[in-house]
């Protein structure tokens, strides 16, 4: 790693101020950032550690609303988001136990790894990403592989979910990395359905509109029969070709609907 300083602000305001400095970068749980720094893929002057900010921790549940602090770890979401079982289950299957004790929802979303689990839940649940500056609807948040519409130095303070009537996440594990080879999150809200896919597209997480329409009319695995995606623009690597991933999206979508 190159040299850098670390600051540990105790409030969102202090963190935002620290992030205004030249070369400053936010540090969430560090489960992606620290390995990246070790590879010298990044050279921040200062890391601003968000882990000590109490107001970004924890889960508030009220009726059908669930608000999760941006600094809340995957383990805490797995244990504390019982009001939204599909989300708790997703969080409890990210990485491994030690990673879940450090990695945070805000860090995962800001990183927007094309194979990460949380982006599928946030896009699939039409969640609201709250920052120190504004609120961003999930549909306007993800902006391609490893890219979001967050501005320089903007901090994800909370993520707000509305618990759907039915939901499930089906993940085809890539057992070495423990990321999703393909993961599909399905959620039913009244008369509409969201289907969000991670791990598949070179553009990162996306909504499968055709499946959403079919499931809105009939929320059953059979409704997805005959629907397919093209392998063009899908991630193709040693773990699977684009065509394989495109096929897997259909399979995992059916499994998610069956489990919901």
């Amino acid at each position: 790693m190159y040299e850098f300083d670390i600051e540990r602000p105790a409030s969102i305001v202090a963190a935002a101020k620290a992030l205004n400095a030249e070369g400053a970068q936010a540090l969430g749980g560090g489960q992606t950032l620290i390995p990246s720094l070790k590879q010298r893929l990044d050279q921040p002057a200062t890391l601003v550690c968000l882990g000590g900010i109490a107001e970004m921790q924890g889960i508030n549940a009220s009726g059908n609303d669930l608000s999760i602090g941006g600094g809340t770890t995957h383990a805490d979401v797995a244990a504390g988001a019982g009001a939204y079982p599909a989300l708790a289950a997703l969080a409890g299957n990210i990485g491994d136990p030690a990673v879940r004790n450090r990695g945070t929802i805000g860090g995962s979303l800001a990183n927007n790894d094309p194979s990460a689990d949380y982006p599928a839940a946030v896009l699939g649940s039409e969640a609201i990403v709250r920052t120190n500056l504004r609120e961003i609807a999930a549909d306007n948040f993800f902006d391609g592989m490893f890219a979001t519409t967050l501005r320089e130095g903007e901090i994800i303070t909370r993520v707000d979910f509305v618990v759907p009537e039915k939901a499930a996440y089906a993940k085809f594990d890539q057992p070495a990395s423990r990321f999703a080879l393909v993961g599909v999150f399905v959620a039913q809200y009244g008369d509409h359905v969201r289907v969000a896919v991670t791990g598949a597209s070179e553009g990162g997480v996306f909504r499968w509109a055709e499946a959403e329409a079919a499931l809105a009319a009939d929320f059953s695995p059979a409704a997805l029969e005959g629907l397919s995606l093209s392998g063009d623009g899908m991630i193709s690597d040693l773990h699977g070709s684009g065509d394989y991933r495109a096929h897997l999206v259909g399979v995992m979508a059916k499994r998610a609907v069956a489990a919901a």
Partner: protein, 161 residues
């Protein structure tokens, strides 16, 4: 450089560290606690697992500064007061849960976390919880048996494969 202070195995430990100093480097190089191993240094293998404020973490993927003020337990803190092996450590010896032993510190620390939350885990639960701990000798079978035994459960039903 920053000054850090934390409790390690019940004793106050302080030191000067750089921002980039990893917790595992602080434990091994500043404090001389070399029981915690660095296997892959990419947060895959789990040889470096320690407990920070009661939770298992990979100490190669956390900065020492982030542990300032924390309670840290390492493998050196797992022995009984009189220096004899702790229950999990003894079970690893009794059930041949280690071959080369390199992964063992992380395996024991991860097992301790599991048993603290789930005192009687099933074989499947143990294997799932060890997902982030890799044994290059592939000695998982006896590691699982050792953890079952440490939890006071009968291990005769776990067939050798």
């Amino acid at each position: 450089m920053s000054q850090v202070s934390m409790t390690v195995n019940g004793k106050v430990a302080t030191g000067e560290v750089e921002g980039r100093t990893l917790l595992v480097e602080f434990l091994r190089e500043n404090l001389g606690l070399t029981g915690t191993h660095v296997g892959c240094d990419t947060s895959q293998c789990g040889a470096c697992v320690v407990h920070v404020n009661g939770r298992d973490v990979k100490s190669c993927t956390m900065f020492a500064v982030e542990a300032d003020g924390a309670e840290v337990i390492t493998i050196e803190g797992m022995a009984a007061e009189d220096g004899t092996l702790g229950t999990i450590q003894q079970a690893f010896q009794d059930y041949h849960g280690l071959q080369c032993g390199f992964c063992t510190p992380g395996m024991v620390m991860t097992a301790a976390s599991l048993l603290a939350a789930n005192p009687k885990p099933s074989e499947a639960e143990i294997r799932a919880y060890l997902e982030g701990n890799i044994c290059r000798c592939t000695g998982y079978h006896n590691i699982v048996r050792a953890i079952m035994a440490a939890s006071g459960q009968d291990v005769s039903g776990i067939a050798a494969e």
